[in-house]
């Protein structure tokens, strides 16, 4: 290994009773580069992440280190350092911010330690809490957080989990402009040591923060490259009905 992490997907196909939500997808996610997955609704973006995190069955190969992600169960994938968020923010509403983050670090604990109460705040939890800017809200039940804060909490949980690969599904959807910018900066800060994949519809956000973009359409990879490459790509424009990408992809 060169110290450069990556996830290499080859020929990934997800078949829902004859309907192929992903078909022969080849894509490589590299450490240190913020990789965006875009495409119209139903293109298969979420399904791709679902397949790579064990939520749906897929065929093909998805190599991460010496593991094939497609052959592992969700919790094993997570333990291997691959984390994800969901399209709808799912934090544990009745637990506090601190408890949410702490739970995410539970994997590294011995079973017996689980039966003891928490004493003090572990360093890595404190660190994650500060990185995502929720330190002052640590005793607040997660259910009362604002939408954007929940998304940050989810990212914080991935940090505590020490996820080396992060799939973020429409994380900034529904955020205000300031929140988006802050999220972008947050990603930038944590990106160097991680492989980050973001699913996004908002082209402004993509333009501002993408290092690399993969366009999915009808389950297949339509185009890949920098933001400029993608915007200039005639096939991409065609898929978006000849219209401007921004117009169509804004929900």
């Amino acid at each position: 290994m060169t110290g450069q992490d990556y996830v290499e997907v080859q020929g990934l196909t997800v078949d829902f009773d004859g309907f192929k939500a992903n078909e022969e997808v080849d894509v490589t996610f590299l450490q240190g580069r913020i990789h965006f997955l875009i495409g119209p609704n139903g293109a298969g973006k979420t399904t791709l992440v679902d397949a790579l995190t064990g939520l749906v069955k897929g065929t093909g190969r998805a190599r991460y280190g010496n593991l094939d992600l497609l052959s592992l169960k969700s919790h094993q994938i997570s333990r291997a350092g691959v984390g994800r968020t969901f399209q709808t923010a799912t934090v544990f509403e009745e637990l506090s911010v601190l408890q949410n983050l702490d739970i995410a670090g539970g994997v590294h604990r011995k079973a017996w330690g689980m039966l003891r109460a928490r004493k003090g705040i572990p360093d890595y939890v404190q660190e994650a809490m500060e990185t995502v800017g929720l330190a002052d809200l640590r005793d607040r039940p997660a259910g009362v957080l604002a939408h954007g804060q929940k998304q940050w909490l989810e990212i914080g949980m991935l940090l505590v989990q020490d996820a080396k690969v992060m799939f973020l599904d429409e994380t900034v959807a529904g955020m205000s402009h300031e929140e988006r910018d802050e999220t972008g900066e947050l990603l930038r800060r944590i990106a160097p040591s991680r492989t980050i994949v973001v699913i996004e519809h908002d082209m402004d956000f993509v333009r501002n923060h993408a290092d690399f973009v993969t366009v999915l359409h009808a389950g297949k990879v339509l185009a890949e490259g920098s933001v400029a490459d993608i915007q200039g790509n005639p096939r991409v424009q065609e898929v978006y009905l000849g219209r401007n990408i921004e117009e169509v992809s804004h929900e």
Binding site: A117, R118, G174
Partner: protein, 394 residues
């Protein structure tokens, strides 16, 4: 999804808002919640172990012991259902395991060494003792079975069910089906288990004469002590990381999976613990009540067992215990005077509680306060709870 305009920046300190205050115990702000609960358990222990024996007659104390057995089951239900989200409609199964293990032992002890139980002699004076009865001659084996049998059964069943991700209503009905099936099985095997009439007429309890009130008082104390112990166990579980994880699993199982845990294992621990508590409750019920029959374990009985937890507040520490004690008391005092009325009261309670206070009566003051509060400060409403996470089935 609306974006509130007054959202705080993630990287700037934010002033604490009044919502925080609600989370702290009001009476003594310097004590942590855990400590307050522990003090509560202490008070409860004093009431049950010292005050009750001092003020209650033999008869009343024995009754209280019976309620305490149900309360033990309820504590487990609080853990499995309240915190773990598993609607255990059939805890009668585990109650039965403990109860029948104990009843078989007491029956054999009453019959005397090498003798076979009286009810069996009635059917066939020459029949040998069925093989599965034999080990229950030993008191030690019986005690082992009271704990071991529910671990085995709940462990296997739970493993199979949770690994297949059966949950919600399916789980509830399955567990009830098992209770009904077991009640049928016992009811239909009268020569082996006493059938619908059950097992009764126990004379001795591990050498102690059951007709002596002093010995009955001793059994009460054991029961009350074990109930307090059960409370301590869940108290520790609730404050532990496991407890947090359990609540997390209840509210968003998929999410927990992506934290690298297998939710099945988490639920299994809670389920097995609840089963053991039910079994111990059942075992002690036998010498106290003096009888065990399928009536105490079938669908209706199982529903009575869960009623206490529903009534008192399933997710709270004290709700299930107090609810079960209260319902037990209500059941015996009401059915003394108004035989059939009790069922209607129970039925009405189920309907009203689920309709008006799904978190139990303990939550009514809090909900009322919350309602008042939100009337006064209309801006500070909680966002809607994530209902999608509580899908019936996945």
């Amino acid at each position: 999804m609306s974006t509130p305009t007054d959202v705080e920046s993630p990287f700037l300190p934010v002033a604490a808002t009044p919502t925080d205050r609600r989370r702290l115990p009001r009476s003594s702000p310097r004590l942590s919640r855990d400590t307050v609960s522990l003090i509560g358990i202490g008070v409860f222990a004093v009431l049950m172990l010292l005050v009750a024996p001092a003020v209650l007659s033999d008869f009343r104390l024995n009754n209280l012991g019976k309620y305490a057995c149900w309360a033990m089951v309820a504590v487990g239900i609080g853990l499995a259902w309240g915190r773990g989200g598993m609607l255990v409609l059939g805890q009668g199964v585990y109650f039965a395991l403990g109860a029948y293990a104990m009843a078989m032992h007491l029956t054999l002890e009453t019959a005397g060494p090498d003798a076979i139980p009286v009810f069996m002699i009635l059917y066939d004076p020459l029949a040998p003792l069925p093989g599965f009865w034999e080990p229950f001659r030993s008191g030690a084996f019986t005690l082992l079975a009271v704990v071991g049998a529910p671990v085995l059964l709940a462990g296997t069943l739970g493993y199979a069910i949770f690994k297949r991700r059966v949950k919600g209503a399916y789980f509830a009905i399955l567990s009830q089906a098992l209770a009904v099936a077991l009640a049928y099985l016992i009811g239909g095997t009268i020569k082996l288990t006493g059938g619908d009439t059950g097992l009764s007429d126990f004379k001795y309890f591990f050498g102690y004469d059951l007709s002596d009130p002093i010995n009955k008082r001793m059994i009460y104390s054991i029961t009350a002590g074990l109930l307090v112990l059960c409370l301590l166990v869940v108290w520790q579980l609730y404050r532990s990381r496991f407890g947090e994880l359990l609540v997390a699993t209840r509210d968003a199982e998929e999410r927990v999976r992506f934290l690298g845990h297998d939710p099945a294992n988490i639920k299994l621990v809670a389920y097995v613990t609840a089963a053991v508590m039910a079994s111990i409750g059942g075992a002690l019920f036998v010498p106290i009540a003096g009888i065990i029959s399928p009536k105490e374990i079938g669908a209706a009985a199982s529903i009575f067992l869960i009623a206490g937890a529903a009534f008192g507040g399933r997710a709270t520490l004290f709700g299930p215990v107090l609810g079960a004690l209260l319902l037990g008391y209500g059941r015996s005092s009401l059915s003394e005077q108004w035989e059939n009325g009790w069922i209607y009261v129970l039925a009405l309670m189920f309907i009203l509680v689920t309709l008006l206070a799904p978190e139990g009566v303990a939550s009514i003051p809090r909900r009322a306060a919350g309602l008042l509060g939100s009337l006064r400060r209309p801006t500070e409403s909680r966002p809607p709870r994530n209902t999608a996470a509580k899908e019936t089935k996945s």
